[in-house]
Symmetry: C2
Subunit: 343 residues, 2 copies
DNA sequence: CCGTTTCACTAGAGCGGTTTAGTAAAACTC
DNA sequence: GAGTTTTACTAAACCGCTCTAGTGAAACGG
């Protein structure tokens, strides 16, 4: 048997197609008695709306898009991405909105997908991640006039609403903590300078370092990969004026850095304190467990979902929102630095 | 200006709607000259098909579904999932098929999504992961008659085609390797017994142990979490007859186990060899790097995508396929066990 | 040169919904 | 109780595309 259409329901209930449509959508124009009868027939016949048919009549497609331009490896590796995905999902599925995921090669391909999906009416809105300096995707989405929410900022995302984290404040608090422990030589294994947040963190470290009179607060940019994280760590630990504390911009790099320290015979935390700017399972399961600045990525996904749904319902109504301030979870990888006596 | 429809193109090119449709879909019925002219007009007007309209006329929805019933944490944590996703994407996007992702609470919800998406014509097919013993999803998908490909098996997936790995063979090779190094006391931190592959691995270990006359080849089932992986390791390492080698069913548990060993002062690999049944970034970046059985999860995703597309194109044409046999990458976490002299 | 086949193209009926315009009856006005 | 408004419902257009049936002209066959 083929799936029932509203026509079948209409026939069975002895009313017109339109009456069925009204009843099923909770619209006025049918009496309560008729409405109940229609609903009963519909559920008896196990009717479900045909998404495409609805979308064709100008309605929503009930889906949002997430397009990511990253190498496959990164997507598998970073817990951030999976958690964000799960959080988005949770926020969307409550209103049974689907998530269309697309993983592409580069930003050009990403923009092409935005264009295509918009004109095909494939999705009702987009979530934009990995905000970059002078991001080319922003003007395109603005031009397309499609609802979109940016994760990142503040600044650099034009008129699109964003959910942003105060990376500057986070970095300052991190440095304050390490300085309070007595660290004077702090180094930073940073991410990719193409990203806004990386730049902000680097700048914040510089400022804090000046304010607290730290020695050599150097930031080494990387591409976020474990390989570059490891080699940056190796270089820093080999320098004559070896830092006593390292700040890593990602959990993956922090773990890689930890391995380098072990390999070089540098004890953590006795000889080196390690802090990660990102928290996850990774930082928890290694030994020693890594002190990390944690934000609830799952919750973040949910928040973005809510913002995007609002932007779809009422374009222009959504404004920038500052996400929860990340909190430091102290674990086993940080302590006061070596003193001469100990050494 | 509103987006162009085939009617606009028809008017501009001076032909009928149908001629445009034929031309755009590469169907016979138009002369080469007319076809070229229509295509030129279409691209000039920047026309794109309206997905919903196409889908409504009985065509495909050009999307496949992946529904996962797992806690959010797991999805973020396991590289497997992200890599699979990326691989699937790569395989699908070549034919510009979208991936609809849905993360749900439990199997009941998952089945509900299968029902809904099928009757809504939301997707053309499904990918089924985490195959369980007596899996309830299989008969539902069979009943719905929707194309689907299972990752897992062999066996237990009814008439649905599956891409399966030979877990038994893999476990045997692993045990052979450890036995060749001289290990006699091998223990296994297993996954969830609800999963088919976990059961097969446990059975294989038992068989190998009997064949090789190993002592105490015990398997401890867990829920795949780092916490249970850690406590299983703790228990095994505390037993009077401590194993000299541990096999972990997942990378996350292997890393957690490594941390427990460090915490208990058990040196790896000197005092304990560690092997992971799954390879990923995780096993590579920790210290010591973990010897692991690796399969190319990204490629696996691509293979599944290809199978599903074939199943959609020609239902019933796709048969079970055995995936590539995982290969052992030896790293720093394995060596011959302690001998009495060394101890 | 007439009948048949092929070709290039058009008209128009769906696909499964939504929505507007219209209608008959019931319910209010005063 | 005639006129107006409201209510409950129907008919049919419409969304953008696909595809079948049909048409007129050109090409072919003998």
């Amino acid at each position: 048997m083929t799936r029932p259409t509203i026509d079948d329901i209409a026939r069975r209930a002895g009313v017109s197609k339109s009456a069925v449509s009204f009843a099923l959508n909770g619209r006025p124009g049918v009496s309560p008695a008729t409405r109940d009868r229609i609903l009963a027939v519909a559920s008896e016949m196990n009717w479900r709306p045909h998404k495409a048919a609805r979308a064709l009549s100008g309605a929503r497609s009930d889906a949002v898009g997430l397009v990511v331009a990253r190498p496959a490896q990164t997507i598998g590796a970073e817990p951030f991405f999976g958690l964000l995905l799960a959080g988005l999902q949770a926020g969307l599925s409550a209103r049974s909105i689907a998530l269309h995921l697309m993983i592409v090669e580069d930003t050009a391909a990403e923009i092409e997908v935005y264009r295509r999906w918009t004109s095909e009416r494939h999705v009702d809105g987009f979530v934009l991640v990995d905000l970059q300096h002078r991001d080319k995707r922003v003007p395109v989405l603005e031009e397309l006039g499609v609802p979109a929410v940016v994760i990142g900022g503040p600044g650099g995302h034009g008129t699109l609403p964003s959910l942003w984290a105060d990376d500057r404040e986070a970095m300052l608090s991190l440095v304050d903590y390490l300085a309070a422990l007595g660290h004077r030589r702090i180094a930073h294994v940073a991410g990719d300078e193409a990203f806004h947040h990386t730049r902000r963190r680097i700048r914040a470290l510089k400022d804090a370092s000046r304010r607290l009179h730290l020695v050599d607060a150097v930031s080494v940019p990387t591409d976020f990969s474990d390989a570059q994280g490891a080699s940056a760590t190796r270089a820093l630990l080999s320098s004559p004026n070896r830092p006593s504390a390292l700040i890593f911009d990602s959990d993956v790099m922090a773990v890689a850095g930890l391995a380098v320290a072990a390999e070089m015979g540098v004890a953590v935390p006795a000889g080196l304190s390690v802090v990660s700017f990102e928290d996850s399972l990774l930082t928890r399961i290694v030994h020693p467990a890594i002190t990390a600045l944690g934000r609830d990525t799952f919750a973040l996904g949910g928040q973005v979902a809510a913002m995007l749904l609002a932007a779809i319902d009422e374009p222009g109504s959504v404004r920038d929102v500052q996400g929860a301030t990340p909190r430091l979870t102290v674990r086993e990888s940080t302590r006061a630095p070596y003193t001469e006596q100990e050494a």
